[in-house]
């Protein structure tokens, strides 16, 4: 076990144990301790923050803290964050972060406040830190420091049209090979429908491709070097790009979640690998509610190694009021708020919330929601947060993966050329300190 992995395990266990002991001691928790302060929250304008901020007034009433929300689209939020953090400014107290993408980088740059210490010293009795997904807490722990608290859990799953599969005599696919076989049959059976769609846009590919790579049995790195040209890596690249080239929509190289959701929602796609988070968008208008089936990402030769990630709430290392900021973080990631967010379609990162009677009632209203929850259970129990290379330059590594996939979709390179070119660039990234 590496030093980092050991430190992570120790930290996660310590956090969990700490939670049990703190719960009792924090019975008379003073929510008004920072009354009159203003906390600035840099938010990504996505469904997760939208659901959370519905209850902004409740937080302000409970704590007497004024919450100033600075909201942007994802890329613009990062742009602002980089500017603020490079200037070591205290303008932002709390920010949203994707540990799977930028965790290594931000942690190494010292931008995250250490929440493991805060969560031990200042936690409400009902916070239940140990109730949060251990996989997500682990993914947010770097060198023994807990850097963010999970807000949701998500990962790529399979959406499929039950009516089209039935018409074409295809069983819902359980393996990647069955997905390809099903796509072939659908293509022959109904030429008006796109048999399969997944992400093809360069920076977006890694999200769905990583799941395929892991399920097939591949890994991004071996012996400190890029491993994309290994037999399993090549198989994953070949399978993913072949599926999109032979069965995907024209122009799939520009497809990310927005285009995929629109294509599926309008009834033009039979199967799709897309984020569990897109359920609400895919089902918008209600047309797909009755003819959609959901399943975990189909298995490969290595079985199911689902990708499970989640947005996290981090306290800035440069905040002048980390304690007040932590109050907002713990309120936002508390069981009560996560239960309320769950019935708005934000998958809870707490297994206990998933069993809550009110949430179960919401789930049981639609068979699609039941299948969605079943797929999420698989993510929560077996998920890996490795999307792209586990290095500080993770965002840049995703570009090389996306480039290799696009080169193959567009037939601009052979498989050997595409993976060799990617490995060359990735090895240089890995070598960077």
């Amino acid at each position: 076990m590496s030093k980092n992995a050991l430190a992570t395990r120790v930290a996660v266990t310590a956090v969990a144990l700490g939670a049990i002991t703190t719960a009792a001691s924090a019975a008379d928790f003073d929510w008004k301790k920072f009354q009159g302060k203003t906390v600035t929250f840099l938010a990504n304008n996505n469904p997760v923050s939208a659901a959370l901020l519905t209850y902004k007034a409740d937080f302000e009433k409970l704590t007497g803290i004024t919450l100033k929300v600075d909201g942007y689209q994802e890329q613009q939020m990062r742009q602002r964050l980089v500017t603020v953090m490079n200037a070591h400014s205290d303008e932002v107290d709390v920010f949203m972060s994707l540990p799977s993408r930028e965790g290594e980088q931000f942690a190494a740059a010292g931008w995250y406040g250490d929440l493991s210490a805060m969560s031990k010293s200042e936690a409400a009795a009902d916070y239940d830190l140990a109730g949060l997904s251990r996989a997500l807490l682990k993914a947010a722990t770097f060198n023994g420091k807990l850097t963010s608290m999970p807000m949701n859990i998500e990962g790529p799953i399979l959406y499929y049209r039950t009516d089209i599969l039935k018409k074409c005599g295809v069983e819902p696919p359980k393996t990647i090979k069955e997905v390809e076989a099903a796509a072939e049959k659908i293509k022959a059976c109904d030429s008006a429908i796109t048999p399969f769609v997944s992400r093809g846009l360069k920076p977006a590919v890694a999200y769905t491709f990583s799941n395929m790579l892991h399920n097939i049995g591949g890994s991004y790195m071996a012996d400190g070097k890029s491993n994309l040209c290994s037999p399993k890596g090549k198989e994953a690249l070949d399978t993913y790009s072949r599926l999109l080239r032979d069965y995907g929509p024209p122009g799939v190289v520009n497809y990310s979640f927005q285009q995929i959701s629109a294509l599926y929602r309008t009834g033009r796609a039979a199967m799709s690998f897309e984020s569990s988070n897109e359920l609400r968008t895919m089902m918008e208008g209600g047309e797909r509610l009755k003819d959609t089936g959901l399943a975990p990402f189909p298995a490969g030769e290595a079985g199911q190694v689902p990708t499970a990630i989640g947005w996290g709430m981090a306290v800035s290392a440069f905040s002048k009021q980390p304690d007040a900021a932590w109050y907002f973080v713990q309120w936002a990631t508390s069981p009560d708020i996560q239960k309320r967010m769950a019935v708005q379609g934000i998958a809870p990162p707490r297994p206990a919330v998933a069993n809550d009677p009110e949430y179960r009632k919401w789930i049981d209203e639609q068979p699609v929601r039941q299948q969605w929850q079943a797929a999420l259970d698989v993510l929560a129990s077996r998920g890996s947060s490795e999307v792209g290379y586990p290095i500080a330059a993770n965002p840049e590594s995703r570009d090389f993966i996306g480039q290799a996939v696009q080169d193959l979709i567009l037939k601009q390179k052979t498989l050997d050329q595409a993976c060799a070119d990617a490995d060359k660039g990735l090895d240089a990234l890995i070598a960077q300190k």
């Binding site: 980089v82 980088q105 190494a108 024209p250 520009n254 500080a392 330059a393 840049e396 570009d399 601009q412």
Partner: protein
């Protein structure tokens, strides 16, 4: 006390004017100079992906010379610039002539002709993204209706640059038309009367009189569009983010991604300063041309 005692000498007047305007001048200089100086400073530093910063001298510029992606970005930037500018000038002049001669055109129609450039680029980008979607877009529907094969438009490495040039031309040719229309309206009527008396054909009049007299206006429009086109960003970012692959990865898109997605602010600053130098060079060249064609 005599009037002379109150008289303000030219020197004193200058000093007072300088004192009164100094805060505004200093503020403006600071607003312009600080970001430029800061960017130059950043360009001499290296920021690792973990945010560590170190002085690297001209290291970023040496890296730039050896960076294949930089040269590719430069090529894409120039290809898009030349194609878009040519299309916008030709269509803009044609549209201006149309509006100039169609005196009876109702005001609302004139406004509609020139409305695209008033549309926010984000809206224009999203609108064209939907129209040009190879699966569900109206463009391919129309092509197939008239018996032509569908195109991948923004998803084709071959067609992405002409497609982006077409979108930008749709949006900005009316702007060129508006500038040229202003130029047309200021041309002296006496020259045209003389040409008419001499029996010049409309084509000859256009070639020998209108076009030469319009050249200063056209060069002005060229300068304005050059500045925008060389640092073209919004529509590309919305529609392709530099893809497919790196087929539409202009210098501006590349610099943005290096700086704000890969967090290497130093190298991004070097890229952006190089782009700024290119823009300055082009503007200076056209400024000289404007002097040469002035009448």
């Amino acid at each position: 006390m005599t009037y002379a005692a109150y008289a303000v000498t030219p020197d004193r007047q200058r000093a007072e004017l300088a004192t009164l305007s100094a805060p505004a001048v200093l503020f403006t200089l600071a607003m312009i100079a600080f970001p430029v100086v800061y960017t130059v400073w950043l360009g001499f530093h290296t920021f690792s992906s973990t945010g560590r910063q170190s002085f690297s001298g001209v290291g970023n510029y040496s890296r730039l010379v050896a960076d294949h992606e930089f040269w590719h970005g430069l090529w894409v930037t120039l290809a898009l610039y030349v194609l878009s500018l040519a299309l916008q000038l030709v269509l803009g002049i044609w549209l201006a002539l149309l509006l100039f001669h169609a005196k009876r055109l109702p005001g609302i129609v004139r406004s509609l002709f020139i409305s695209p450039f008033m549309m926010p680029p984000v809206v224009a980008g999203l609108m064209w993204l939907v129209i040009l979607d190879p699966s569900i877009g109206a463009a391919n529907y129309l092509l197939t209706r008239v018996g032509l094969p569908p195109s991948d438009w923004l998803a084709s490495p071959l067609w992405v640059i002409p497609t982006i040039a077409m979108i930008d031309t749709w949006q900005w040719a009316p702007y060129v038309a508006l500038i040229v229309l202003g130029g047309l309206q200021s041309l002296p009527p006496s020259v045209y009367e003389a040409a008419q008396i001499d029996g010049a054909s409309p084509l000859t009049t256009f070639r020998r009189i209108t076009l030469p007299l319009l050249l200063p206006t056209i060069v002005t429009a060229t300068i304005l569009r050059s500045v925008d086109l060389l640092r073209f960003f919004d529509i590309i970012y919305i529609t392709t983010q530099g893809g497919p692959g790196n087929a539409s990865n202009t210098l501006n898109i590349y610099g943005f991604r290096v700086g704000f997605e890969f967090f290497n602010i130093g190298y991004a600053s070097a890229l952006m300063l190089t782009l700024t130098a290119i823009v300055f060079g082009v503007v200076l060249a056209f400024n000289r041309l404007r002097g040469a064609v002035a009448w």
